[in-house]
Amino acid sequence: MDLDKSMIGIASKPYIAEVDRERVTRFAQAIGDENLLYFDETYAADTAYEDVTVPPTFLVALSSNAEFPLKLDFKRMLHGEQEFIYHQPVRIGDRLECTMAVTDVYDRVGKSGTMQFLVLDTEIKTEDGVLAAVSRNTIIYRPAKKGAE
């Protein structure tokens, strides 16, 4: 199946992602990021974040709970770009409501033929319904191999 513009707007059901301390710690450790901002309340209180928060890329770990809104061939998918738009800090203990939606589909002609691009936005809201962040994933959808389904 190829992509087309009619897919824009297709969205997952909202899902809840809990930000637990152990998960944040494991994530930061895997990267080797020892910033006190994620662990030390006294340090974090004196920063512009005013409290402990999560590493900037931690938000991708929330989308592993998502039910992908489209049936796509994962072998054709490459992660092309990733963007995070932060509105307010995510905190340890937050229960976040996430919704993933297709926000754009476009083609670009390259050396190896026409490549398709799929933009998936995950909106991340706090329990009060305040938008905390958007995680924007641009996927390169490679042409299907000839003869393959």
């Binding site: 990267i31 990021d33 590493p55 890329t57 990733q82 932060y86």
Partner: protein, 147 residues
């Protein structure tokens, strides 16, 4: 050891090159650890046989792990006075176990918006000089009365 000295926001200027951060070489254990921590369980990052079956020499690092390194770098640059309001990365060449990634950045723009000082940074992740595994950008926002 802190690899990066926090730079006071007031000392930034356009085209200023920021101190770089070189991470220890990526290890296979780290890829397994990152897979578990991030929930990205694609065997391309953890199983050599699988990686070879799809035409690779062996496992490659998650692009998001490399973005994690840049995220560490940007958060250190933000120091205690600024928050990251936007952060993006475009993935380039693959990173393999043994590659040591260096993160570097340059100030591209400085503006004042609604009483905040806003710095746009251009970011580069390289596995060797000139061998980019990704490029990106970040926006740091700092309340002026904070500085």
């Amino acid at each position: 050891m802190k690899a990066i000295t926090n730079i006071p926001f007031s000392e930034l200027h356009v085209d200023r090159e920021l101190p770089s951060l070189t991470k220890p070489p990526v290890t296979r254990e780290q890829l397994v650890q990152y897979a578990g921590a991030s929930g990205d369980l694609n065997p391309l990052h953890t199983d050599d046989d699988f990686a070879k079956s799809i035409g690779m020499d062996g496992v490659i690092a998650h692009g998001m792990l490399i973005m994690g390194f840049l995220g560490q770098y940007v958060q250190e640059l933000a120091g205690t006075k600024a928050v990251i309001s936007n952060f993006s990365m475009r993935f380039g060449a693959m990173t393999k176990p043994g590659d040591a990634i260096t993160c570097s950045g340059v100030v591209k723009q400085l503006t004042e918006i609604n009483g905040n000082r806003v710095a746009e940074l251009e970011l580069i992740a390289e596995k060797a000089p000139g061998e980019r595994v990704g490029t990106g950008s970040a926006t740091l926002t700092c309340k002026i009365d904070n500085d």
